[in-house]
């Protein structure tokens, strides 16, 4: 039994009668804590529509809906959120690749229309759009990896006097970590000219299934050895991971797959054409990436393909334009071997227009594909370029590949700021190191470093190798000795500082500061300012018959010229790189194949 205290004590509760009530009378309008997870905000300019938020949402509350036209690196989609499903867990905010998606601390919003609670944050205006308080992801992105696995390279001192490949390739462990970072948004697929199934082959790496990876590569690109090394990797500039970290090393991962599938196994996986021979014949002029890709596709459709190549070996610019330290010839040979195994006949050392006329091809074949590339180096035509000691970069590179003797003076100046300029500068540096024991190369480019055309890594590696790069310099004259023993020989390149390259209309019209003049001493000047196609092979009649636009052969979107039997592909019509040429090759092959199919099989 309780005592008296047990009876009286409970009455002390009555003291609360005189206390102020603790209830919040009007909860609407109560401000939530600073870090509250309320309604979403989306910085629509920052968002790239990668859809990671949609993937991670375990309630399927997020739909990616189109709000604008897709461009490279932006799908044009934006998340539409259904607040009948959202559980406010903010994983979408944590995983957001750009940091555009955040949450305001607004949690009360009244609307009689249930459909109003399904909207696109940032597109459908809401009162909390500009609110600064709310949930923000703390620190660097933790739900996906931000940092790229560094690629091993030969150190400068080990590579400068030889043409050994610089990039060593990923180990399996490194590739696994790098592949793990991919969020499979597919922005890269849209950007890649050949639309390679990048997330799929990266997934194959994660699974350790290199056979599958190779199979995926060959579905869109028969040049993975090449593209795994020298691709301009537009995909990486579209990569969602680049916004808050490094883009996925897509190019190196591609190379990692081919590194891990032996040549024999590759032939087994890719196989030989399954289609029955159609009896139709296609001639392809030029064994570069576009021509060989078209040859690969057409051969697999069952057509008889003959590729004519003027040089001694197939590969085109991949072999004769890209130095060996970037793309070893045996890697290129492995890619070409798979193509040749499809039954493609490659006739090298045959120059169309000289040994065989175009007319003859037209007569013997059902279709002709012109993929002749850009093998004539353009000149700046500044005073002094006529005469000895001035070379075209593309000629020098081809001669180095062919093993011919090239002049290797102690001082070389290169005009140009693109990748070809870097290729010749670095090739010359290697030859100089061998011959003279020292590097003496200066690259002068119109563009400043902020707008440089060559890849960033090319520039850095060039610096590592002791090459001087002077940006924003406009070439004015190749200065020659006027007297003495060396009369007529190159003395150097005179340049002015560039103040602007394009005029108000965006046309190429460089302006110079003439007061800032320099003479870059040189024994040889190499011009690397662009190339042209050698269309003389077409012959006068055909040239006359064909349509042209601005000096280029006019082709329809499928690559067909105004002559129904003639297609053109690659750098000669589109440019500017291997992967674009591969894409072009596919496009042309589809068009040629469609026509051949319409013609039907040849009666046997």
């Amino acid at each position: 039994m309780g005592n008296l205290r047990d009876v009286l004590s409970p009455f002390t509760a009555w003291k609360h009668l005189i206390e102020t009530p603790v209830t919040i009378r009007n909860p609407i309008g109560r401000e939530a804590a600073d870090g509250y997870r309320g309604f979403h905000q989306n910085d629509i300019e920052k968002c790239i529509g990668c859809g990671s938020c949609e993937v991670i949402c375990q309630n399927a509350a997020i739909d990616m809906v189109p709000v604008s036209a897709p461009v490279d690196g932006d799908s044009g989609l934006r998340p539409k959120i259904d607040y009948g499903r959202c559980c406010w867990c903010a994983l979408c905010v944590d995983v957001c690749m750009t940091g555009s998606l955040t949450m305001s601390n607004e949690y009360t919003w009244v609307d009689a229309d249930p459909d109003a609670f399904r909207f696109i944050p940032g597109v459908d205006p809401k009162p909390w759009d500009d609110m600064e308080k709310g949930y923000r992801r703390e620190g660097a992105r933790v739900l996906t990896g931000a940092e790229r696995v560094e690629m091993g390279e030969l150190p400068p001192e080990a590579r400068i006097d030889n043409f050994d490949e610089i990039v060593v390739g990923y180990t399996r462990e490194q590739a696994m970590i790098e592949a793990d970072r991919c969020v499979e948004c597919g922005l890269c697929v849209a950007t890649c000219p050949a639309h390679m199934d990048i997330p799929d082959y990266i997934a194959a790496i994660r699974e350790g299934d290199y056979d599958l990876g190779l199979q995926i590569l060959y579905e869109t690109n028969p040049f993975s050895e090449v593209c795994g090394r020298v691709c301009t990797h537009k995909c990486e500039t579209a990569c969602a991971a680049r916004h808050e970290g490094d883009p996925i090393a897509i190019r190196w991962l591609k190379r990692h797959i081919v590194d891990n599938v032996s040549e024999d196994r590759r032939l087994e996986i890719v196989g030989t054409p399954q289609a029955l021979p159609t009896g139709r014949k296609v001639a392809i002029v030029g064994a570069g990436p576009a021509g060989l890709t078209a040859a690969y596709d057409l051969a697999r459709q069952g057509h008889a393909v003959t590729v004519y190549e003027a040089q001694d070996k197939p590969g085109g610019m991949m072999r004769y334009g890209i130095p060996e330290y970037r793309l070893p010839y045996d890697a290129l040979d492995r890619d070409i071997a798979v193509i040749a195994a499809q039954g493609v006949t490659i006739k090298t050392g045959v120059r169309i227009g000289r040994e065989i006329a175009m007319d003859k091809l037209r007569g013997e074949f059902d279709a002709v594909v012109l993929s002749i590339g850009l093998h004539i180096g353009r000149s700046t035509r500044i005073p002094g370029t006529e005469g000895p000691g001035v070379e075209a970069a593309i000629d020098l590179l081809a001669r180095i590949t062919a093993g011919e003797e090239v002049p290797v003076p102690e001082r070389v100046v290169v005009i140009g700021g693109g990748n070809v300029a870097m290729d010749i500068a670095r090739s010359m540096a290697r030859l100089q190191k061998r011959k003279h024991g020292a590097v003496g190369v200066t690259v002068t480019a119109l563009e400043d470093f902020a707008h440089f055309l060559a890849d960033r890594e090319e520039i850095e590696e060039s610096f590592d190798e002791g090459i001087e790069i002077v940006d924003a310099r406009g070439p004015q004259e190749v200065v020659r000795y006027k007297s003495g023993k060396r009369k007529g020989a190159v003395k150097g390149l005179r340049t002015w500082a560039v103040t602007s390259i394009f005029d108000g209309q965006g046309r190429f019209a460089p302006q110079y500061d003439q007061g800032d003049e320099r003479l870059h001493p040189a024994d040889m000047v190499v011009e690397a300012i662009g190339q042209a196609a050698d269309v003389s092979i077409l012959g006068e009649d055909l040239t006359e018959a064909l349509e042209w636009t601005r000096g280029r052969l006019a082709v329809d979107p499928a690559g067909r010229s105004s002559e129904p039997w003639l297609w053109a592909a690659g750098d000669a019509v589109h440019g500017p790189d291997v992967i674009t040429a591969v894409a072009d090759g596919h496009r042309v092959a589809a068009s040629v194949g469609a026509m051949l199919m319409a013609m039907g099989e040849v009666a046997r």
Binding site: M1, G2, N3, R5, D6, V7, S9, P10, T12, A13, H16, V22, A32, A33, D34, G35, Y36, R37, S52, V55, I56, Q58, N59, C87, W88, C89, A90, L91, D94, V95, M103, Y135, E138, G139, V142, L143, T144, G145, D180, R181, C182, V183, E184, A203, R206
Partner: protein, 392 residues
């Protein structure tokens, strides 16, 4: 104490199979559904009572009102996607689910959460325990007609929810303990505001001591009522305060220290009577332990440091084949997650061991016969059970 002693010869007798023979046709018995819509039921469940007069002769527990298939849902979610689900297994003390799951994933994936995260997790679990006890206190008061206790405790709990809100960004489902760590640091000035809450809580708890524990009615209705024989603890899987009220000094925080409990100073609270009173008292005293622990943690925890370990890309996170059981001392007893992984990106099996499963089903059905209809609510609440963790 005067107790009505019924004439037990009138009661149904067990048949040959040991089960009671209840013939409703005789008119001697009445079936009464206690719940699911009854203020004396804890959460959304019900007890099917068979009454003889005002005495309960049989009680059958019915669950299923809350079944959302959590464990199955988890098997269809990636490892990171399970994270927002787990807290929903238990509304009043969700953080235990978050920690158990995160810890289990970390063990199988070979990840260790940083020290700062370990301390923050401990703080969150104690704050959650405090809140859970607030509901238990209010519940036991309410079940015995003392609604004001529930109002006070709800207010204090709300103050703690304010602290949860500023710390985690949410009031109820905090979703703050992520596999790999926690989502953020404590806000500026958090410890000071927490101290204000704890001081207010102590003031109200002192009132609870006066109004409820020093109360002739409360004592009369709880002492000697709903006694659990300590011999039942093991066969019925009784853990936590329900066992400690029967003199068993078992507490996983002490017996198998997890997080940073080995660096904290506290005693395991026990009572001996094993009745409703003792269970309420254990909880009341454990609140003081929690308050002291929160103060200790805030004083001892590191001021800064990383809160998240490096995770693999969670969008395709695969965890090697393995299994683990992670358990901790929740406010209701041993709370555990059994996680099986098969090397894929999804859990093969997740089993949630909620203490309410044994307490609210087998144990309650065992304790109910022989009680007075008026005591059923108090008995239930004294077991402190939460239905969602039964029906995961």
């Amino acid at each position: 104490m005067i107790r009505f002693e019924p004439d037990r010869s009138q009661y149904p007798q067990p048949g040959d199979d040991g089960k009671l023979e209840i013939d409703l046709e005789t008119g001697k018995y009445l079936k009464l559904w206690h719940g699911p819509n009854h203020p004396g039921i804890t959460g959304n469940m019900s007890v099917e009572l068979t009454l003889c007069g005002d005495e309960v002769v049989e009680g059958k527990v019915h669950v299923g009102y809350l079944h959302r298939g959590f464990e199955k849902l988890m098997e269809r979610r990636t490892f990171i996607q399970v994270f927002p689900i787990v807290c929903r297994v238990c509304v009043p003390e969700p953080d235990f689910n978050e920690w158990c799951y995160a810890q289990a994933v970390e063990e199988l994936a070979g990840i260790e959460a940083p020290e700062m995260a370990q301390w923050t997790r401990t703080l969150i679990l104690e704050m959650g325990r405090f809140n859970s006890y607030m509901m238990a206190m209010g519940g036991i008061g309410g079940a015995l007609g003392m609604g004001v206790i529930g109002q006070w405790m709800t207010y204090v709990r709300d103050l703690m929810l304010d602290r949860f809100e500023e710390m985690t960004g949410a009031r109820i489902y905090h979703m703050f303990i992520l596999p790999g760590g926690v989502r953020g640091h404590l806000p500026e000035g958090f410890a000071g505001r927490m101290e204000e809450v704890l001081a207010t809580a102590e003031r109200y708890l002192a009132d609870v001591d006066k109004a409820m524990f020093t109360n002739a009615v409360f004592k009369a209705r709880t002492k000697g009522v709903g006694v659990i024989d300590p011999a039942l603890f093991e066969p019925y899987g009784v853990t936590g305060p329900n066992a400690r009220a029967g003199g068993v000094a078992k507490d996983l925080r002490k017996d198998a220290p997890y997080l940073v409990y080995d660096q904290l100073d506290f005693e395991v609270v026990t009572e001996t009577a094993s009745d409703i009173w003792a269970r309420a008292m254990v909880r009341r005293r454990d609140i003081d332990v929690s308050i002291a622990l929160i103060r200790q943690i805030l004083a001892k925890m590191p001021k800064d440091g990383p809160v998240m370990a490096k995770l693999p890309n969670v969008l395709h996170w695969k965890i090697p084949r393995g299994e683990t059981y992670v358990a901790g001392e929740s406010s209701r007893g041993e709370y555990g997650y059994y996680l099986v992984t098969d090397g894929s990106g999804y859990p093969r099996r997740v089993n949630v061991r909620g203490p309410s499963y044994t307490h609210a089903m087998a144990l309650l059905e065992h304790l109910i016969p022989g009680t007075n209809i008026a005591d059923v609510a108090a008995l239930m609440v004294s077991l402190h059970t939460y239905p969602p963790e039964i029906e995961r």
